[in-house]
Symmetry: C2
Subunit: 474 residues, 2 copies
C-alpha cells in the first residue's frame, strides 16, 4: 500500500471510530506533513482520496472538514440479534437460482454478481505463462496432478502461507476445482445427511445450497455487519443443536463485508475446539484487504487441526481457471480421497500455469493494484449512494472485498426492488437469498468490483430512484 | 480401419463364434484374395495380424490353421449369474483407495491403472491450440463458461452426436469436470440418501465409491463378460428393490470389456422406461472401438428423456484437462444447477482449447490412430499371456477399450497376487475392488493401454510366474 493510502486509512479509521466527529477541521496540509513526517503531496493525495470517499469536504480558504455525511456512511445497520436460533431444513435453492439466472444476461449492470470484473486480472500474462507451460508439459502430469494435486503448486501455496507467518506443509493442502469444491468436500468429510451445520446469518447462499443438497440442517447464528459472528449466540446454538461442523467466512464476509478480529478468531477457534467441532473457513476474500496487512485466517489459531482453510485464485488472480485449495489439517487425507472420487483432479493446464505464475513472481504486485482499484471503486460507490439514494439507507464500509451490504429504508422490499431493477437493466442481490429463513427482506448486496464508469454511476442513480419510488405512496 | 484389419476382425469373429474351429485350415492367401476381392498383400497382412494375436498358426508349406490356443483365448469366463441379488450398504472404499494409492508409484508397471498411457495423446498439438486460444481469450469467458458450459464446446459435442446419427441439442448438454463429475451429478439429481441404485457386477469401483459417499444402497446385477448386464436378473431386481436409478457402462465396460448389443440396449432402455427409472450411462470408452463403427449408446434408444449419457475427453483426447459432459435429457436443467453449486464450471482454458481443437478438425484421425495402437497392444498382450501364463486362465477378447478381465486358475487369489506383484514392481487391479460384496477374488483386470515394450513383456512374464507359484503346493 502506498503512503498516502495508509494515511487516508488512518484518518478514515479516526472518523469511523468517532475520534474525529462531523464538522471537525482536519490539520492543514502543512501541519499534517510536519506531524506525520510525510511530504505535502502525500497528505494532499490522502485528503483527495478521503474527499472522493465522501468522508471529508474541502471548504474554500478554510481547509478540510469531516463531512456531515461521514457519520451516516459509517452508520452500521443494527445486527439482527434477537431472532430465535432454529434448526432449519433448507429449501430455498430455487429462489437463489432464479435470481442468479436472471442476472447472467451480459447487458445487465452486474451489481448482483458474486464475481468481480474479469478485466481486473492479469489474464494476458497468465495466458502467456500457460502457453509456455504447455510447451514444457510433462505428458505424465495428467497422472501426477491427480488429487491431492500438482506438487509444485502446493509448494507455492504453502510458501505464501509461510510469508504470512503460517506454518502449513504442502502435505496438508488438497488442490480443488475452486474454493467452492473445497468447501463442499470439507462439508462432506465431516457430516452425514441429517446432521446440523452452524452457519452465520446472513450467509453466502452457496453454503445454503450445499446444506440443502447434502440433506443437512442449518443453524443460523446472527452475524454483526462489522465484526462478524456473535460468539455468545454461537455457543448457545452449539449447546442446543450440537452441530457437526461450522462454516464461516472470517475475512470480508459475503454478503456483509464484516471482518472478524484476530482476538475474536482466536476465541472462536478455541470454543469450537472445546466442543470438538470442525471449522470450515471460507477465506476467498482475505487477499483483498484495504488495510496494512492481510488479516490472519482463523486457521492461524488452530492447534487441534480442526480448521479447514479454503481459498482459491478465482477472486484475486485467475477467474475461470477453477483452481482452489484447502489446508485441511487432520482431514487432509479424507478430503484428498473425496476429491479423487468426485472429480479426480483440477484441470492440469490450469494447475501447472498457476504454479509457474507463482514461481515467476509478480503476484503481490498484481494484488496491490487490484486492492487499490477495489478501494477506489468502493469510494466511488459510496459517494454515488450518498448522492442518489434516499435518506435512511444504512451500510458499513468494509475494509476489503467488493461487496456493500445495504439496509434499505423501512418499507422498501428487496425482492420487489430486484424485479424492478432487472427491468431497468440492473441486477442486485436481494437479502433473502442469504438466509435459509428468507430473512433480510429489506437488505441488498451490491458488487462494487466492476470498473467505475458513467454506466455504473447511472445505474446507481436509477437504483436510487427505484428505492425512492417504493417509498412514495401511490 | 484399414482393409486388412477389417478382414482380420472378420476372421477373428468366425473363430470366436466357433464357425472356424481349432485346427481348421484357413483358405490360402490366393483363395482368400479371390473370394474376398482384396489384394494378396491385404490377406497376408490380415493373417499376420491374426498370427500375432495368437489366433492362427502358420505351418511350413501347409498354410494357416486356427491355433489350438484360439479356443482358450476366446474362452469366456462363466458369468456369475446365480448369486442372490441383495441390497448392499457399500463399505469398501478403503480397499479401493489402498489399491489405487499403492499403484501410483511411477516406477511400477501400470497394469492396474485405470488410465491409458498419456503418450498416446496429441498433447503437443493440444498445447499449441491452447496457447493460441489463450491469446484470443475473451476476458468475459470466465463468466460465460459457467455451467452449463462453453457454448461453442457444447455445439461441437452436439455435432459429434449428429455425425453418429443422434439428435442431441446443445441445450441438453452440461459440461463437467470430467465424466466422473457428470456421473456423480446425475446420481445426485435422481437419488436421495438411503435410496437403492442398480449397478452391474462387476462394476467400475468409482460407482461403488459414489454410492458409498452419498449414502445409497447398491443392487448388483450380474453382467456377462461379453454381452453385458443380464436383463432378466435386472427386471427381477427392479421388482424386488425398486431402484431410483440405474448406472451402467454399455460400451467396453470397465472392468469386463463387454459390449451390449444394440438390440439389447434398446430392450434395456424400454424396460427402464416402463418402470420410469433413469439410466445413468457411462460411455467413456465408446470411441475406442476396434470394429467398423462406434457402437451406439443406449441414449440412442431413449424416447422418454430418461437416459443421461455421460462421456469425456479424458480417455480419448485430453487426459488431465478434466472436461467431460452429460447429455441429460429431462434432467438437464437440474444437473446444470447442481454443477453450478458444486464446482461452478469446468476450467475455462481447457474448455476453450477443446472447443477450438474440435473446430479445427483432426480428432477423427487421432482416434483412428489411437484405436489402432490399442488393438495392436491387445494382440501383444494376449500373445504374451498365452506364452507366459499357466493353463486355466480364462478371458474374453474385448472389441474395444483397453482392459482385459482375466479369471485366474482355481486356487489363485487376486488380492494376494496384487500384493506379490506390487513387490515385484507391477500393479494389477484385483477383482474384489469391482464389487460391493468383494466378489471376484479370482479375477484381475489388466490395462493394455500402455505402449508395448520389453519391460511390459517382462512384467507379464513375471506375473505369469507369480500365478504359477500360487498354484504350486509349497
Amino acid at each position: 500500500m502506498k503512503l498516502y493510502e495508509q494515511l487516508a486509512n488512518d484518518i478514515a479509521s479516526s472518523i469511523q471510530s468517532g475520534v474525529l466527529k462531523r464538522g471537525d477541521k482536519l490539520p492543514s496540509v502543512r501541519q499534517a506533513s510536519a506531524s506525520r513526517q510525510v511530504s505535502a503531496a502525500t497528505v494532499f493525495q490522502a485528503y483527495y482520496l478521503l474527499e472522493a470517499r465522501g468522508l471529508i469536504v474541502a471548504k474554500e480558504r478554510s481547509g478540510y472538514f469531516v463531512s456531515v455525511g461521514a457519520n451516516s456512511i459509517s452508520n452500521t445497520p443494527e445486527p439482527i440479534l434477537n431472532h430465535e436460533i432454529a434448526l432449519t431444513n433448507v429449501d430455498m435453492s430455487h429462489l437463489v437460482f432464479e435470481v442468479l439466472e436472471s442476472i447472467r444476461n451480459k447487458s445487465v449492470v452486474p451489481f448482483g454478481s458474486a464475481f468481480p470484473s474479469p478485466l481486473l486480472f492479469p489474464l494476458v500474462r497468465l495466458g502467456r505463462i500457460m502457453a509456455s507451460a504447455m510447451q514444457e508439459l510433462d505428458p505424465w502430469a495428467s497422472l501426477d496432478n491427480i488429487s491431492p494435486g500438482d506438487a509444485e503448486l502446493r509448494r507455492q501455496i504453502a510458501l505464501r502461507y509461510l510469508i504470512d507467518g503460517l506454518h502449513v506443509t504442502a502435505d496438508e493442502i488438497v488442490i480443488t476445482n475452486g474454493a467452492l469444491e473445497a468447501l463442499n468436500l470439507c462439508l462432506m468429510a465431516v457430516t452425514r445427511p441429517g446432521d446440523a451445520v452452524l452457519i452465520e446469518s446472513p450467509t453466502f447462499y452457496a453454503a445454503l445450497q450445499s446444506i440443502e443438497r447434502i440433506g443437512l440442517k442449518a443453524i443460523e447464528v446472527p452475524s454483526h455487519p462489522k465484526h462478524g459472528i456473535d460468539l455468545e449466540a454461537m455457543e448457545q446454538a452449539i449447546k442446543l443443536h450440537q452441530p457437526k461442523a461450522c462454516w464461516l467466512m472470517t475475512n470480508f464476509q459475503n454478503p456483509l463485508g464484516s471482518l472478524v478480529s484476530s482476538d475474536k478468531k482466536q476465541a472462536l477457534v478455541a470454543m469450537l475446539a472445546a466442543y470438538q467441532i470442525p471449522l470450515i473457513e471460507d477465506d476467498v476474500y482475505g487477499e483483498l484487504y484495504f488495510g496494512k496487512q492481510r488479516p490472519a485466517p482463523a486457521k492461524a489459531f488452530d492447534h487441534a487441526g480442526l480448521v479447514m482453510h479454503c481459498s482459491s485464485f478465482s477472486k484475486c488472480l485467475a477467474p475461470g481457471y477453477r483452481v482452489g485449495w484447502v489446508v485441511a489439517g487432520r482431514f487432509a487425507k479424507h478430503i484428498e480421497r473425496l476429491k479423487l472420487t468426485t472429480t479426480i483432479s483440477a484441470s492440469v493446464p490450469a494447475q501447472v500455469a498457476l504454479a509457474k505464475y507463482l514461481q515467476k513472481g509478480g503476484y503481490d504486485k498484481h494484488l496491490r493494484q487490484l486492492r487499490h482499484v477495489l478501494m477506489l471503486n468502493q469510494m466511488q460507490f459510496i459517494q454515488a449512494i450518498e448522492r442518489y439514494f434516499p435518506a435512511g439507507i444504512h451500510f458499513t464500509v468494509p475494509q476489503g472485498g467488493y461487496f456493500l451490504w445495504l439496509k434499505l429504508p423501512a418499507g422498501v422490499n428487496a425482492l420487489i426492488l430486484h424485479q424492478q431493477a432487472l427491468k431497468a437493466g440492473i441486477s442486485i442481490a436481494p437479502g433473502p437469498i442469504f438466509s435459509a429463513q428468507l430473512r433480510f427482506q429489506e437488505y441488498i448486496r451490491l458488487n462494487y468490483g466492476h470498473v467505475w464508469n458513467s454506466d455504473i454511476e447511472h445505474a446507481l442513480m436509477t437504483l436510487g430512484q427505484l428505492i425512492k419510488a417504493q417509498l412514495t405512496p401511490v
